[in-house]
C-alpha cells in the first residue's frame, strides 16, 4: 500500500496540462474585467468564462474533484451565481474542502480590486436528516464583477463517478475536465446531450492514460413547457468504473452491465420477498377478491385497495429489504414499499406480478449506453391478468389501474423477472379521450339551456375524478371545470356515474340553464352565438414563436364535441362558420370542425386528436399553427337572424 501512495504522488507532480483558457486562481485578465457583454448571447446575464475539473483518486480509489470556475457577472439578475451551496451526506462522502473564492472589480483608476472570500464567511448547516450543506457567498459583488471560486470535493467510494455536466442556465465559454485513468482503475465513458466536446484527448503516460475533454461555447439551456426532464438535454460526460486492481494484481472487473444490475436487483428482490411471510398477504387478498371471477377483476380490487389505503411519503426508491411491518402499520411508505405490498398481494391472489425498475420523468430518460443502477429511481409493477399486461403504481393515491401516473411515463423500464432480464416499454392500458354531447336551445334573449353528457377515459377521467372527489360537492366542481367563465349558469340536474370506481370511464350528464356568455349575444335582429359553448375558451399552449427543445407530451389524446343547438323560435340561420380540417404530416395531430344546419338545428362536430407524443423542433411551428387554428376556429360564431313576418307588415 505504501508503494502505491508514493506512485500517486509522483504522478501528480508530473502531470500538468497547458491550455489557453483555464488560468491560475487570481490570474484575471483586464479583458475579463472590462467585458460588457457576451457576443454569442447578448441576453446572457452572466457567462462562465471557464470551469475546470481535475479528477484524481486516493489510494482507496475514492474520487476527488478539484473544481475551479470563473464567472463574469454581467447583470445584477445573475447575483445568485455568487452564492454557492453544496450538499453532502457525511456518512458516505466528505463534502467540500480547500474552499477559495474571490471577487474582482474594476477600481476607479481602472485597476483591479480583489476581494477575497473570508474563511469565517463559509457556513455549514444541518439540512434534513444526515445531510449537511456548505454555503458561501462571494463578497463585494456588483454588475461587471468577475467571480471565481475553487474547492476540492471528496466523494466516498463509488463505482460510478459523478457526471461532468457542461451545460447550465448561463452560457459556458470553456468547460474542461482532466482525468488520469490508471491501469489499476479503468473507466468507460459515454456522452449525452447535443453540444459536442471540441477536444477529446487521450494520451498514454507510463502505462496510464491522461484524458482531457473540452466543450467550448456551450449555450445556456432554458426550461420550456412540454418537456420531460431538462437534464435529458444537458451535454455531459458519464463515467463508469470498468476494473480495479492494485499494481501487479489481477484487476477486479467492476464493469456494470445491465445484466449484472439485473442479477443484483433480482437477488435483492427475492430476498426481500422471503423476509415477510406470505400468510398475511394471502389473508388480506382473500378479503378483497371473494366473489370475483376474472383475474383482471381481482387485480383491480387489490390495486384499488392498496392505492386507497397506502399514502406515499414522497420518496422514490428502488432498494428494499422487504420489511414492511412499519409501512403496513403506518399505511405510508415510499414507491418501492407500496408497490411491493401490491405485488405480494397480487401474487397471493394468483396473479402474475413482477417489479419493473424505472426512471421517473423528472429523473431523466434512461441512457442504455451507460449501465448505472442509479439511472433507475423507482419501482412499478407489471401484472399479467387474463392474458393482458398492466403496469401498476399504487403509490399515487386512488386511481385507475389502467393509467400509470404521468410521472412514470418515461420510455423503457427493466423488468426484474425471476427468469430473464427484459426491457419493457411502459405503456398505458387505456387511451385518453373525452366526448361531449350537447343538446341546447337559445332564447331570443341569448340565454342557453340544455343538457350535456360527457364521457372520459384515461387521464381525462382520472384527473376529473380526483378533482371531483376533492371538491366540496359535485356541482361545484362542474361549475369550475366545465362551466368556468359562465358565472350565472344554473346546474339543474347532475348525474354522475361510478364516481368512486376509478377504473370505469368517467360519465356524467348535466342539465343546465341560464347560461349566458360574452360570446352569445343579441343585437337588433341578430343573435350571435359561439356554438362551442364551454369549449370556446381553449388556449394555445405554445405561446413562444421560437423553440429550442423538442416537444414531448406524456400521452396521446382525443377530444370530440358534438352539439345540437335548436334555432331560436322566430329566427333563421344567417351565417355559419365554414368547415375546417387540418392535419400534420402522417396525421400526427389532426383537427376537424363542421357546423351544419338541418331540421331547425345547428349541428357542430369538433374533433381533435393528438396521435404522437414527440415532436422535433422542426415540427414545432406546424404544431403551434395547428393549435392556433383550433383556437381561432373555436372563436367563430353562428349568426341567427329574426324572420320577417311579411303577413304582419301591412
Amino acid at each position: 500500500m505504501k508503494k502505491y501512495s508514493f506512485l500517486v504522488a509522483v504522478c501528480m507532480l508530473g502531470w500538468s496540462n497547458v491550455n489557453a483558457q483555464v488560468s491560475e486562481f487570481g490570474d484575471v485578465s483586464m479583458d475579463e474585467l472590462t467585458m460588457e457583454r457576451y457576443e454569442a448571447d447578448t441576453s446572457a446575464a452572466a457567462v462562465v468564462l471557464f470551469e475546470s475539473g481535475r479528477m484524481t483518486f486516493d489510494r482507496w480509489f475514492r474520487p476527488e474533484m478539484e473544481y475551479h470556475v470563473r464567472i463574469k457577472i454581467l447583470d445584477e439578475s445573475a447575483f445568485d451565481h455568487a452564492t454557492i451551496q453544496v450538499r453532502y451526506n457525511p456518512e458516505i462522502e466528505q463534502g467540500i474542502a480547500k474552499i477559495k473564492g474571490a471577487t474582482y472589480n474594476l477600481g476607479e483608476q481602472g485597476e483591479m480590486v480583489t476581494s477575497k472570500l473570508n474563511k469565517k464567511d463559509i457556513f455549514k448547516e444541518d439540512y434534513i436528516g444526515n445531510v449537511k450543506t456548505t454555503k458561501f457567498t462571494l463578497p463585494s459583488l456588483s454588475a461587471g464583477s468577475v467571480i471565481e471560486y475553487s474547492y476540492v470535493k471528496k466523494y466516498g467510494w463509488t463505482s460510478n463517478l459523478p457526471d461532468w455536466v457542461v451545460q447550465r442556465d448561463i452560457p459556458v465559454i470553456w468547460s474542461e475536465l482532466n482525468m488520469r485513468e490508471r491501469k489499476e482503475h479503468t473507466f468507460k465513458t459515454s456522452f449525452a446531450g447535443a453540444h459536442p466536446f471540441a477536444i477529446q484527448d487521450s494520451e498514454p503516460n507510463k502505462g496510464n492514460v491522461d484524458h482531457r475533454w473540452v466543450a467550448k461555447d456551450v449555450p445556456g439551456i432554458k426550461r420550456e413547457p412540454f418537456i420531460n426532464s431538462l437534464d435529458n438535454y444537458r451535454s455531459r460526460i458519464l463515467f463508469q468504473t470498468e476494473s480495479i486492481g492494485a499494481a501487479g494484481d489481477r484487476p477486479v472487473d467492476l464493469l456494470l452491465t445491465w445484466g449484472r444490475i439485473y442479477t443484483g436487483l433480482k437477488e435483492l428482490y427475492s430476498q426481500a420477498e422471503k423476509r415477510e411471510k406470505e400468510k398475511f398477504y394471502k389473508e388480506e387478498a382473500a378479503k378483497l377478491i371473494g366473489g370475483l371471477s376474472t383475474d383482471e377483476e381481482k387485480m383491480a380490487a387489490i390495486f384499488d385497495y392498496v392505492s386507497k389505503t397506502y399514502k406515499w411519503n414522497g420518496a422514490h426508491n428502488i432498494i428494499t429489504y422487504g420489511d414492511f411491518k412499519k409501512v403496513r402499520q403506518k399505511k405510508e411508505g415510499d414507491s418501492v414499499d407500496i408497490n411491493f405490498i401490491l405485488m405480494r398481494m397480487l401474487k397471493s391472489a394468483g396473479i402474475g406480478a413482477t417489479p419493473v425498475v424505472i426512471s421517473t420523468r423528472a429523473h431523466g430518460l434512461i441512457n442504455k449506453d451507460a449501465p448505472f443502477i442509479d439511472q433507475f429511481n423507482s419501482v412499478i409493477i407489471l401484472a399479467r391478468a387474463d392474458g393482458k399486461e398492466f403496469f401498476l403504481d399504487a403509490s399515487m393515491g386512488p386511481r385507475s389501474y389502467k393509467m400509470l401516473p404521468e410521472k412514470d411515463i418515461n420510455g423503457a423500464g427493466m423488468e426484474i423477472h425471476p427468469l430473464l432480464m427484459k426491457w419493457v416499454d411502459i405503456s398505458l392500458s387505456e387511451p385518453t379521450k373525452d366526448v361531449y354531447m350537447v343538446e341546447a336551445s337559445v332564447t331570443p334573449d341569448a340565454i342557453v339551456s340544455g343538457k350535456v353528457s360527457a364521457s372520459m377515459t384515461g387521464y381525462f377521467a382520472q384527473d376529473f375524478r380526483v378533482d371531483m372527489n376533492k371538491a366540496e360537492d359535485h356541482k361545484q366542481h362542474l361549475r369550475k371545470d366545465l362551466f368556468d367563465g359562465f358565472a350565472g349558469v344554473v346546474i339543474d340536474e347532475l348525474e354522475v356515474k361510478d364516481i368512486e370506481d376509478y377504473s370505469k370511464p368517467m360519465v356524467y350528464t348535466s342539465e343546465f340553464s341560464n347560461l349566458r356568455g360574452d360570446n352569445i349575444k343579441v343585437s337588433g335582429d341578430f343573435i350571435y352565438m359561439n356554438p362551442m359553448l364551454f369549449m370556446s375558451d381553449l388556449e394555445n399552449p405554445f405561446k413562444e414563436s421560437e423553440r429550442t427543445l423538442p416537444v414531448n407530451f406524456v400521452n396521446t389524446f382525443s377530444t370530440r364535441y358534438i352539439a345540437n343547438i335548436k334555432i331560436p323560435e322566430g329566427y333563421e340561420v344567417d351565417e355559419l362558420p365554414k368547415p375546417k380540417a387540418f392535419s400534420l404530416p402522417d396525421k400526427a395531430a389532426t383537427f376537424r370542425r363542421v357546423v351544419s344546419t338541418k331540421d331547425g338545428m345547428v349541428t357542430v362536430l369538433f374533433d381533435q386528436r393528438l396521435n404522437k407524443t414527440d415532436f422535433p423542433i422542426e415540427e414545432y411551428e406546424q404544431l403551434r399553427g395547428l393549435f392556433r387554428e383550433i383556437v381561432e376556429s373555436n372563436n367563430e360564431r353562428v349568426v341567427f337572424k329574426k324572420v320577417r313576418e311579411i303577413a304582419n307588415e301591412e
Binding site: 439578475s77 434534513i128 399514502k311 405510508e332 366540496e472 349575444k521 414563436s545 355559419l576 381561432e632
Partner: protein, 652 residues
C-alpha cells in the same frame, strides 16, 4: 427581489428574543412520555352534516412565566379529521431558534372509537432549516410532525412544550384557524408578581376571562366554547379582525442582557436604538468616497439620491441571522467589507452614511407584506419583521428600502406602504404612517391602436404608462432581465395569443424612475371573432378587471379597499375598408361612492375608425358588510361592459 424580503420576513417574525441560562421553571407536570390509551371522541355525524372537514375538539395552551427572561409554553390540541380534505390539519409545524427551544413534541393517532392506533415516532418528525434560499445562514429551524391515517374519521392529539429564553416576543394565542369549528379552547397564564404581562383581547366574547392569584403568582385564564368556523373573505385584513385571539407581551423584557420595556412605543424604540448603537463607524475609504460623492451637492434630496445609488451599486441583500443577530445589526464595517447584509445591516449601513454626511435619517421598523394584519397600534409589542430608512426633507420623508437593487430612489414599495412603522429617533420610538398607495398613486394608462383586416387578423400597438403598484409589478418583470425575457413575459401574460411579437420596448424600466412606460406591437388572430362576413370586435379584451368576487348576501365582515387604483384606456380601432358598423354598444357611466367607471364609444365613419375611452377608478375606502352587494354588482357591471362587442359587416 422583493420575494427575498418576503420570505425572509416571514421567518424573521418568528424570532423571539432573550437572555440565556435560567434553569427550568417549576410548572405543571410535563408532557407525559406515553400517550393515553383513549381519547374522547365526539359524535362526528353532526360535524359531517355541517360539511366540516375537520374540527378542533379541544385546544389548551398554558404559559408559565418564570421571570423576565424565561417562560414555558405548553400546548395540547385534539383534532378530529373527518375526511380527505382535513388531512392537512394533521401536520404540525414548530419553529425554533436560539431563543425558542422545543423541549418536547408528542402525538398520537386514535380511531373513530377513540382507541389509540399509534404514537408519533421519530420518523414522523422532520427537522429542517427555516431559512430561505436567499439566506446564507440563519439559526431558525422547523420541526414538522405529521400524523396521517386512511380510515375516517380519526383523531389526533398533539402536545408540545416550548421554552422561551426571553420575553421579547410572547406568542399570541390563536386557538382557531380559518374554516374550522373549535369545540372548546382554553388559555392559562401564570406569572410571578415580579413580571407583569400585558394582555389584549381581540374579538373575544365577554366573560371569557377568569383571573385569580395565589402565592405571589397571578393566574389568568380564558375559556371558549363552540367557536363557529370563520370564513376568509376578500378585502379584509385577515384573522386579526375576525377570529378570537389574545395578544400578549411582557411589560419588561431582557434579551442577551439588554433590558427593555414595552410600556410604550417610545421605550421599545429606545431599547432598539441602544441595542444597535455604536455600529455606525465607517472606514476611511467609504468616508472619502462619500466626501467626493457629496461634493458640490446641495439639498437633502439630491444628496440622498446619490447615497441611495451608491448603496444599490455596492451592496446586495443576503440574510445572516444568528441569535441576537435577529435584532442587532451587523456593524457598518461588515457591509463595507463584504458588500452584503440583511435588512438591518443594509439599513444601518445607509443610516451610517447619512449620519456621516450630516443628514438626519431614522430607521423605521415595519411589518412588511401585502397580506398580513396591520400593526395593533395601541399595544406596544414586537410586531415587526423589517426595517427601512426614512430621511426627513422639510415637511416630508424620503423613504428608502435598503435591501433592493431594483427599486427607484424614494420608492417605499407596496409591501411597506400604507401602514404604521416605528421610527427610531433619539427620543425613542414613534409610530409613523408610511405613504398611502391609493388610486392617486396606483394608476395606469394604456394607449392602444388596433388595425383589423378582413380576415379578422389584428395588429395592435400599445403604449402603457404605469405608476404605483402597476409600476412595481412591471419593474420586477423587466428590471435586470434581457429583452428576450421581456418578450417571453408579454407572450405569457398577454390575455390573448400573440402570433407575431414585432416590437417590445421596456427600456424605461432600466432608468429606475417612476412612472414607467413600455410599448409593444403585435399581431394576433385571437382578438376578433368571425361569423362569415361579420367581425366581432371586443371593446376591451386586453385590460380586463381580473377579480373574483364571492356571492352576494353572505358577507359578514367589513370591507377594507386598500390598494385602490385608476386605469385609463384609450383605444382606437381601424376597421377594414368596405365594412360598416352593424351594431355598437352605447356609452355608459357608473358612479358609486367607492368607484367610478365610464365607457365612451365614438365611431368616426368617414375614417373607418372607432374611438373607445374607458376609465375605472376604485377609491380607498372602508365599507360596511352591507355594502358588499353594491360593490360586487359594480364589479359585475364593469366586467359585463368589458365584454361588450362592436359588430361590423361587409357592405354588399
Amino acid at each position: 427581489m422583493l420575494n427575498k424580503v418576503y420570505t425572509y420576513l416571514l421567518l424573521f417574525i418568528l424570532l423571539i428574543g432573550c437572555s440565556s441560562s435560567t434553569p427550568v421553571v417549576e410548572y405543571e407536570p410535563s408532557i407525559s412520555k406515553n400517550a393515553t390509551e383513549r381519547m374522547v371522541f365526539p359524535n362526528t355525524m353532526l360535524y359531517t352534516l355541517q360539511g366540516y372537514n375537520h374540527v378542533v375538539n379541544d385546544h389548551q395552551t398554558s404559559l408559565y412565566v418564570k421571570d423576565k427572561s424565561s417562560a414555558v409554553l405548553k400546548v395540547r390540541e385534539d383534532l378530529i379529521i373527518l375526511n380527505e380534505r382535513g388531512i392537512e390539519r394533521g401536520r404540525l409545524q414548530l419553529f425554533y431558534d436560539s431563543f425558542r427551544e422545543i423541549k418536547a413534541i408528542s402525538g398520537a393517532l386514535y380511531d373513530f372509537q377513540g382507541k389509540l392506533i399509534r404514537e408519533l415516532d421519530e420518523d414522523d418528525i422532520i427537522d429542517f432549516p427555516a431559512s430561505s434560499s436567499y439566506s446564507l445562514y440563519e439559526d431558525n429551524r422547523v420541526k414538522e410532525a405529521t400524523l396521517n391515517y386512511n380510515q375516517f374519521p380519526y383523531g389526533i392529539r398533539f402536545e408540545y412544550e416550548i421554552e422561551l429564553n426571553g420575553l421579547l416576543s410572547v406568542p399570541g394565542w390563536y386557538p382557531q384557524q380559518f374554516n374550522e369549528y373549535v369545540h372548546q379552547a382554553g388559555l392559562h397564564i401564570e406569572t410571578p408578581d415580579s413580571v407583569s404581562i400585558k394582555i389584549k383581547e381581540q374579538n373575544m366574547p365577554v366573560n371569557a376571562q377568569k383571573n385569580t392569584s395565589s402565592n405571589q403568582r397571578n393566574i389568568y385564564s380564558w375559556e371558549l366554547n363552540k367557536l363557529e368556523p370563520v370564513q376568509h373573505e376578500r378585502f379584509t385584513n385577515l384573522r386579526e379582525y375576525n377570529i378570537p385571539h389574545v395578544l400578549l407581551a411582557a411589560e419588561e423584557f431582557e434579551i442577551d442582557s439588554y433590558k427593555g420595556s414595552f410600556s410604550s412605543w417610545k421605550d421599545f424604540g429606545l431599547w432598539y436604538r441602544k441595542l444597535n448603537s455604536g455600529r455606525q463607524q465607517l472606514n476611511e475609504e467609504t468616508r472619502s468616497e462619500i466626501d467626493s460623492l457629496m461634493q458640490g451637492l446641495s439639498g437633502i434630496e439630491n444628496r440622498a439620491r446619490v447615497i441611495y445609488k451608491y448603496l444599490q451599486e455596492n451592496t446586495r441583500y443576503i440574510s445572516i441571522q444568528l441569535g441576537i443577530g435577529g435584532w442587532q445589526t451587523f456593524p457598518a464595517s461588515f457591509v463595507e467589507e463584504k458588500g452584503y447584509g440583511d435588512c438591518k445591516a443594509l439599513t444601518n449601513f445607509t443610516f451610517s452614511i447619512f449620519e456621516y454626511a450630516g443628514i438626519k435619517a431614522y430607521p423605521v421598523l415595519i411589518k412588511n407584506g401585502t397580506s398580513n394584519a396591520p400593526i395593533v397600534d395601541d399595544f406596544p409589542s414586537q410586531q415587526f419583521n423589517h426595517v427601512v430608512l426614512a430621511v426627513p426633507d422639510g415637511e416630508r420623508y424620503i423613504w428608502l428600502e435598503c435591501t433592493s437593487q431594483i427599486l427607484p430612489f424614494g420608492y417605499i414599495s407596496l409591501s411597506n406602504a400604507d401602514r404604521y412603522g416605528l421610527m427610531i429617533t433619539e427620543e425613542g420610538g414613534k409610530l409613523i404612517h408610511t405613504p398611502v398607495f391609493d388610486q392617486k398613486v396606483n394608476y395606469r394608462s394604456n394607449n392602444t391602436k388596433i388595425n383589423v383586416d378582413e380576415n379578422g387578423d389584428a395588429s395592435i400597438r400599445t403604449s402603457t404608462l404605469s405608476n404605483g403598484l402597476f409600476y412595481e409589478e412591471l419593474l420586477y418583470a423587466f428590471d435586470g432581465k434581457p429583452e428576450s425575457d421581456h418578450k417571453s413575459w408579454l407572450r405569457n401574460n398577454y390575455p390573448i395569443n400573440i402570433s407575431d411579437l414585432l416590437d417590445f420596448d421596456a427600456s424605461s424600466y432600466k432608468k429606475k424612475e417612476f412612472p414607467g412606460t413600455h410599448s409593444y406591437a403585435i399581431t394576433t388572430r385571437s382578438l376578433v371573432s368571425k361569423a362569415g362576413n361579420r367581425l366581432f370586435l371586443p371593446l376591451n379584451k386586453l385590460n380586463t378587471w381580473d377579480i373574483e368576487i364571492g356571492q352576494n348576501g353572505d358577507r359578514t365582515q367589513d370591507i377594507d379597499l386598500r390598494y385602490t387604483f385608476t386605469e385609463i384606456d384609450s383605444i382606437q380601432i381601424q376597421i377594414p375598408q368596405g365594412y360598416y358598423v352593424e351594431s355598437i354598444p352605447a356609452s355608459e357611466i357608473i358612479e358609486k361612492g367607492f368607484g367610478t367607471f365610464s365607457l365612451k364609444i365614438r365611431p368616426e365613419t368617414e375614417f373607418n375608425t372607432i374611438h373607445i375611452t374607458r376609465q375605472l377608478t376604485l377609491f380607498r375606502k372602508k365599507l360596511s358588510a352591507e355594502e358588499f352587494d353594491a360593490l360586487s354588482s359594480f364589479i359585475r357591471d364593469v366586467k359585463k361592459a368589458d365584454e361588450l362587442e362592436i359588430v361590423i359587416n361587409k357592405e354588399s
